[in-house]
Symmetry: C2
């Protein structure tokens, strides 16, 4: 497989915990493919606003949608946003409180989304978004009417600037002074994962 | 029970889908108590940054922590942030694509967090945060050393300005023109919920 590195911009460069930082585009794709819910961050009147919403991706861009009246979607077009997709895989319970943590996979996508106005792309974007959450539903359910399409804003955000962070496995406290605390004192729990239908 | 309304500020007022908007402080508490992971939104160089992190709450404020070197935590103190906690409860599959949706419970907390510098409060905040994700671990695991405390930033964010949105139940397409599409065509799935240990 040809390596496709992720972007290396000021916003996406890993400064801390580099061992948790992803480098490959394939890692981003895997995280996005595994979910359908994200948190959209926009700036409204100088203040951040973080809104949970659903997304779909075609591998080149992320589609987001909502009411044309939505405050977060009104603020987003051509303005900087950050979309974060997070999967919580488990709690990591260590010998020390300090080494406690969470196993997770997370992607952050930065950019200025564009409003999709082309009717064909808008329909295709909504299809992608619907199929991401509920595969098969686009062909099963009634598709959007002209009126419904007019009431919906669809945004497209390039995947060109993104970062990935993941953590997995047990805590790393077995070699330090805490190892003397005795038997392995942690439990690595695998929490349930939300799966599509 | 005495009713304690949530704040009614420009940021927390519900403008759309008011039937999904919570009004009671008890709803906020229930959403926060049900989880331990949130998305912290900060503004860095004019751009939003949305970071998944863990939290704990004592019912008055939310505690967040991280490395003293963390970009998001360095940006947060005394600056506007938005912390969002979301539980995805189910996919709602309707007769029409337009009526598809997600059942969820979500809380957004706005404010400018303060850095906790008092040693006793810092330890208590970390206890609350640890116990929120993993009840019992504070008494079981080794507690933070002075060096570990110095490497950790603890933020406290008041719950005074918050909004709640929830959605539950089946899609509301049974009375409209789509009812003619025949038998109930939706499946209301209850997705797994992440529970503490």
């Amino acid at each position: 497989m040809i390596s496709r590195p992720l972007s290396d911009t000021d916003r996406t460069r890993h400064r801390r915990l580099r061992e948790q930082g992803g480098r490959e585009r394939a890692e981003l794709d895997a995280i996005l493919d595994a979910g359908f819910c994200c948190h959209l961050g926009v700036v409204v009147d100088g203040c951040p606003m973080v809104v949970p919403t659903v997304y779909g991706t075609d591998g080149r861009q992320l589609y987001l949608h909502g009411s044309v009246a939505s405050r977060s979607l009104v603020a987003a077009p051509d303005a900087p946003v950050c979309v974060t997709v997070t999967h919580i895989d488990g709690l990591v319970l260590a010998r020390s409180v300090f080494e406690h943590g969470v196993n997770y996979r997370s992607a952050m996508i930065y950019g200025a989304p564009r409003v999709v106005t082309d009717p064909a792309e808008k329909l295709e974007g909504l299809r992608i978004l619907t199929e991401q959450a509920a595969p098969g539903q686009w062909d099963y359910a009634r598709r959007p009417s002209r009126k419904e399409l007019a009431a919906t804003t669809l945004l497209a955000l390039s995947l060109g600037e993104a970062s990935v962070k993941t953590s997995s496995g047990p805590p790393e406290d077995g070699d330090g002074p805490d190892a003397g605390l005795g038997a392995v004192a942690y439990t690595h729990l695998t929490l349930p994962t939300i799966t599509n239908v």
